[in-house]
Subunit: 428 residues, 2 copies
Amino acid sequence: MTTSLADRIDAANAEALRRIESADPVLVGLRAARDVIPPLHDRALLHAGPPAAPEDFCGPMRGAALGAMVYEGWAATQEAAGDLLARGAVTLHCTHDWGVVGPMAGIVSPSMPLLEIADRAHGLTAYAPINEGIGPVLRFGAYNAAVLARLRWLQDVLAPALDGALRRMGGLPLVPVMARALTMGDEMHQRNVAASSLFYRAVAPALAEGDLAGETLASVLRFLADNDQFFLNLAMAAAKAVMTSVREIPYCTVVSVMSRNGVEFGIRVSGLGDRWFTAPAPTPSGLYFPGFTGDDANPDMGDSAIIEALGLGGFAMAAAPAVVGFVGLPAVGEALTITRTMGEITVGRSTRFKIPALEFEGAPTGIDARRVVRLEVTPVINTGIAHRQPGVGQIGAGVVRAPLAVFQEALAAFATQYAEGAADAESA
Amino acid sequence: MTTSLADRIDAANAEALRRIESADPVLVGLRAARDVIPPLHDRALLHAGPPAAPEDFCGPMRGAALGAMVYEGWAATQEAAGDLLARGAVTLHCTHDWGVVGPMAGIVSPSMPLLEIADRAHGLTAYAPINEGIGPVLRFGAYNAAVLARLRWLQDVLAPALDGALRRMGGLPLVPVMARALTMGDEMHQRNVAASSLFYRAVAPALAEGDLAGETLASVLRFLADNDQFFLNLAMAAAKAVMTSVREIPYCTVVSVMSRNGVEFGIRVSGLGDRWFTAPAPTPSGLYFPGFTGDDANPDMGDSAIIEALGLGGFAMAAAPAVVGFVGLPAVGEALTITRTMGEITVGRSTRFKIPALEFEGAPTGIDARRVVRLEVTPVINTGIAHRQPGVGQIGAGVVRAPLAVFQEALAAFATQYAEGAADAESA
């Protein structure tokens, strides 16, 4: 009597769901990137998405890389930084290879402070940089003096203050914050106003208990208060910590990573470990801010689709009627349809992330690459739209569908790797 | 050619809706009650709801009154306070007669700080005491040492700090906060977590810019952060400021006040000015905290039903799926039905308070006493349930229907006052 491949896959996927459901991501503090990411001991940068060579960087990613190099003092000007980058004097690594997630360009340099999330259930760690707010920001490829000054302020003032507050608090468990925010209209990708507010209420008293006072304390509180999307990076790092628990489960067809570098869209599938499956990054459809059109849009970018891999963002659209118009959908009812449809391609429903408008049904969780291919229903990702030129910034928001090809390629590779039951996998 | 009574009523009600829609309530600061409420220059108390004599006070209201008298130093003990009250040595006034609203017992004494809301569109002002948080609190009739110590801390520490912050901010317009909170799952009566969080983000930086520092600042930030219902009293005072603009419009059948004192339920109708129409206060049906039953419940009490008079709370139930279970309704779908039904008895839909789950339809606004009587559909009020003994506190939450009799009485009085067209009013 043998166990069929389909049974093994089902068991592996059930194990993946158990791990996702039992994860306990806690924001413990902030660390300098160089202290926790080994390759950043040297002159190196991380970037979002699947691997990309500097000559292939899209505009915003190139802008962000040059800005980070000036911020680090490796070059005095953007031109000098460009020369260094072209000469290969800076090593590049993928964020996801080091448990890091960054929105948009996702550029991380050694001096940047990273939010540290520990999954206390599985002993895993993940990181994200601090959200810079809106307007000209590095993640969209802006690198003017104000952008770099803000990065230094984040490093010198905000990060130590927030780290101190979090350590006094003994860390902040993120699942309760996220679960509550879902009942307050966030889907945790394009809308984090509730989570950011709840986070703020949690840390502000502890910030006041620290060494800061007067204007400096007020500036920290104001920076956090003024950013409705501050929590996005926390949600991303929490999702990365959770999804790292399913990074490599034999026979598992659950998608552990979805990400984009502005040129390619890539996924990883648990049973295939850290291998990337990529296709050209699609351009989101959505609404553009006044003065911009689809011609200005960069193809989709950033690690933020880890939110959807966990079952939030587009998957939890029904929780966030207010995001519907923002991403260009015609009616709130559409959000319910999207969440229900995403339920067709996932291995289960969250017992922790509940959606009020669906009578508190759980968010669809754990994308099953098999179902995506079989049903030809691809994951819906809520996303910001970047201008294709570095430095312009966000020009809209919309919805993008993950390209079917990456799931097909992954499933083909899966069939090869687990060859003895390839036929079963196809028909499972 | 004459204008029929029905036409006059319609025109008056349209004017009421215009005033409600154009009101601009702004939290400008805090004031000692004695400085803004003339009768509180003397030894006097305000209480919630229609007029009540001390011998008729329900348990929680009596407890709150005695506690406030000790807090004021009028008596050293509850017993001595009870003697003073029985002797008539303390004058009693209705909150609503002085533009004040207080939740539950609604007891306001001269030294208490009041939140001051100015309707900048109509030059009107309304007040509410500061929400004390949960557990043993004066508004539920608790009067132990900890309750009185908290009242003194509110007076000595929180109120001056918050007042300073608000004055530095130039005041805080409340409609935008309330409108946003409605898109975040608050209905603004039994659920204010979003509004409280948004309010917190707005004031915390300004608090840090004041004179407070270290532990004292942290204690203020922590008190505000720990109270999900802090905004309730602000919503009440904002609603009172708005509804004061329709306090006395000839021919208007819009309900300007709904309130309860724990014994009687009362309403005022715009065209009849400040006259009360009362009936016995119903007991809410809902869910009780563990260890309590309906036998422990006090009849409905407090000025908070001003929220429903504005078209929020029960009327906006569809905005707050998470409140549905809390008040004991069987399913989220029920919330949609309640909001739609309340739309049958109101004069219009808010253009500012939108409900995401209803495709951003406005909340039903301005209760028309005529429609209540004609349809026999009474206003739904979301409410907390108090223990009938003073000092026990909240024992549950639920839904209560305003008694039909008060609307019938009001309409009869309306017909008498506007006698020339009584028949028209009936058939309008």
